[in-house]
């Protein structure tokens, strides 16, 4: 027997990625087996290897896809305005984007150690690119005298770490709306960075 009814490449591929994303986020890369992913998709373990050469690549492409989407999405954002409004735009964008895909965010931050050395370098480079987007804004703000930070590199990492924290506690339908969260964090960021 082979091929249960109605199964296609175009649908199985995404379902594998979805299942892997969810399971990796929930239990961790090392704790999830290929057979678990396959069961979730409704397929035998061997079938996964039509879509990924191995488990490591599956993880890598999930991370790479996430980071690429993050950069592209920030690139699509309207860019004008002064440093301060750019910083606000970044803050709000970061919160919104990351709250929309908690699983991918979780994996991108937690499973770095499970990447092979080359894959690690690739992901780190994408992350640095994103960090540079924020640092550029901070540097410009400092040059223009609008912002005042002790150290733009550290301020960049501090802001991102603070914003990432939202993902650990925010739940849909909770006490605060997404917009309220954006406002609260933007006020803290603004005061921490403004002259």
């Amino acid at each position: 027997m082979a091929r249960t009814q109605g199964s296609h490449s175009g649908i199985t591929g995404p379902r594998i990625r979805d299942a892997a994303l969810r399971l990796f986020a929930q239990h961790g890369f090392a704790a999830v087996s290929m057979r678990q992913i396959a069961r979730e998709v409704g397929v035998q373990a061997g079938a996964l290897y039509n879509y990924t050469p191995d488990k490591q690549s599956l993880l890598f492409h999930l991370m790479e896809g996430h980071m690429t989407e993050l950069l592209a999405s920030w690139g699509d954002q309207p860019g004008g305005g002064d440093s301060l409004s750019q910083l606000e735009a970044f803050t709000r964008f970061h919160i919104r984007f990351h709250l929309q895909r908690p699983d991918a965010v979780f994996i991108a931050y937690m499973e770095l150690r499970n990447l092979s050395p080359e894959n690690f370098i690739a992901i780190e480079s994408l992350r640095r690119e994103y960090e540079n987007a924020l640092e550029s804004i901070l540097k410009k703000g400092v040059t223009e005298g609008v912002l005042l930070v002790p150290d733009t590199k550290i301020a960049t990492l501090a802001v991102i770490a603070m914003l990432n924290g939202v993902n650990t506690w925010y739940r849909d339908g909770g006490r605060l709306s997404l917009d309220q969260v954006e406002v609260i964090y933007w006020e803290m960021v603004r005061r921490a960075m403004m002259v």
Copy 2:
């Protein structure tokens, strides 16, 4: 054959915990086997079970020990002064304490999902206790009119998330000394929280 020369309970126990801490932090709980830990200690896997009933307990007691030490250490800190200097004390303490034990911190934040439900609740309760220490300072500061935060609960989590970020980039012998790092972060925290 049994018992290689000079092996004692008093020394093997700590060495197991040390090895487990380092390996869990490096590769993740699920990716580390009991045999790997045993090899690191220089003992057969079976010997580990004289010191822990199972792998899960080993993880739990590492986390519990870390959180308990964190709370005790903060409790030992001199407590006086106004809200602002208490907030400064907390900021500096948090950075210093966490930079001294990066492996334990890593595990305490990353391996929560590998805890059994009861163990998870226990660790979460200790963490909440620590968060409450900070939130009390913020609340007092707001009441006294010294601090101004949009939401003390969120501010608490934001500050801790920001401070935890230090562990991701700080390296001994790097560009900045521990004290410089404390100063920089304290300035950001102060400005974000002060009226």
